[in-house]
Amino acid sequence: MQLYLPIADLPVNVFLVLAMGAAVGFVSGMFGIGGGFLMTPLLIFIGITPAVAVASVASHIAASSFSGALSYWRRRAIDPALASVLLCGGVTGTALGVWTFTQLRALGQLDLMIALSYVVLLTAVGSLMFSEGLRALMRTRRGTVPPRRTHNWIHGLPLKMRFKRSKIYLSVIPVVVVGIMIGFIGAIMGIGGGFILVPIMIYLLRVPTSTVIGTSMVLTLVTMLFATMLHAVTNHLVDAVLALILMVGGVTGAQFGARAGQRIRGEQLRLLLGLLILSVGIRFAIELVIQPSDLFTIREMGVSG
């Protein structure tokens, strides 16, 4: 069934988009991530302009992280204090990100920047996650105990604050910085940032695993809602019809993904996720290097009259 997307200005097959939403939802439920880094590239791949894809995926991620955050809230797996500090940074970062997005779009370099950010971020995070997963897998094979985590320089920073539910005592500076960073790249790349945020919170900020996913979902939810609003107000690029189809597919797929994820071991899950992220990054890299089929592009600046 063909449906015309009003903002993307493109007819698409509803079932194709629904299936894409469900597939990405499955993966996101399995790994406990938002899945924006998969959804945005897929949309670009079916012909939606990167700008519209990024803006519309933001609302899709908001929906899936809201349903996730609700269930974590019921299980008391969210640290409200930590989430609020993260959000201070997240909201600032998102505003900066959307502003940069607008500037780049005016310069005609937005598509390039989106592709470049994907290449850099995904290959870096993907290879880190992959190698880490591989090492963890080796360790369990050999039966050795992972090295004990120690405190690092981050724990020497001033402005310390006690986060009761996470049972940590931590400076607010790195937390705010992480929030800004995630908000910024989220707004530009159309990703929730969960797949970067969770490792950072675990390895750098030493947030216990009991609250890490729930708290990161709150950050994702608020920054993505905010990004949706800003993209709608400044760039008019949010395609609500597209977003709705993605949301419905996504939240459904996520439920099945979560069930499948429980059957796979943690290290294998990380290995798989790392591989997935890495391949998306490489896909973008190839796109940049090979000669495009058409060197010219046209952009309409708005019809008058």
């Binding site: 929906a63 809201f66 107000v233 949010v238 609500a240 709705l244 940049l288 000669q291 060197l295 708005g302």
Partner: protein
């Protein structure tokens, strides 16, 4: 519509006095509505060449060029170049107030109808239509084989929005003609001006104009208009929709 009627009236009143022929034309539909499942349509333009007593006897065969121009818009054409191993948009050209839809139809190839000189003056053929560019502060059209201009026309043609056809106009009788105006699915909304130019023995002998309008209706158009005009409300509704969907999912799939 009113404009078209006025134009027709104008031709009817002044035409016979000034010219030996007059052109009477009409399109099959003056208001095309594009619905969500619109997948392209063809409008038909009918017309006839009416002779009168002052028409020279040697004028038997006429040639016609029909130009359809959609609403005008500013566009930017960008060119990618390889920089540091990757393909980047480097150079660009701005096209100012160019037609978003442009179709040129004739009953014979354009070069057979008239001389290159007249073709240029009357803007016959895609190579001769005025496409104003901003070239380093100046406003001008460039030579037809300019890289940006030809890329622009090529890309618009690929999308079916620019077209020229030297055999699209058919004469049913020596004076009665018809042509189809194809309107693809992604046709821009707005007012379309149709100009019909009459030639005989290579000379331009008169023209007439008509117009039609393309309007989009339905839910999709409502969404698009709201997004552009009420960005804040649109954003709020989208955000609320996201929250609703998420909330519903957490209820439906709640694990007990």
């Amino acid at each position: 519509m009113i404009r078209a009627t006025l134009a027709l009236l104008f031709v009817l009143l002044l035409g016979p006095a000034a010219r030996a022929e007059r052109l009477i034309v009409s399109v099959s539909n003056h208001r095309v509505t594009v619905t969500p499942n619109y997948s392209g349509e063809e409008l038909v333009l009918f017309g006839s060449v009416e002779k009168d007593a002052t028409t020279p006897a040697d004028r038997k065969a006429y040639d016609l060029v029909v130009t359809v121009m959609g609403p005008r818009a500013d566009m930017v054409t960008r060119r990618k170049e390889r920089t540091f191993g990757i393909w980047i948009n480097t150079d660009y050209r701005q096209f100012l107030q160019v037609p978003s839809y442009l179709a040129l139809f004739a009953n014979r190839p354009f070069e057979a109808i008239t001389s290159p000189e007249i073709a240029r003056r009357q803007q016959i053929g895609l190579n001769n239509v005025l496409l104003t560019q901003r070239v380093s502060g100046d406003f001008a059209d460039v030579v037809p084989n300019d890289a940006f201009r030809s890329a622009f026309i090529r890309l618009r043609t690929q999308r079916g929005l620019y077209r020229e056809d030297g055999s699209a106009v058919t004469f049913l009788t020596p004076t009665l003609f018809r042509t189809g105006i194809p309107l693809p699915a992604e046709v821009p909304i707005g007012t379309y001006d149709v100009e019909i130019k009459l030639f005989a023995n290579g000379a331009f002998i008169g023209k007439t104009e008509t117009a039609f309008e393309i309007v989009k209706v339905g839910f999709e158009q409502f969404v698009a208009t709201t997004a552009r005009q009420n960005g804040l409300i649109y954003g709020l509704v989208t955000a609320a929709m996201a929250l609703m969907t998420g909330w519903m999912a957490s209820i439906v799939f709640r694990k007990d």
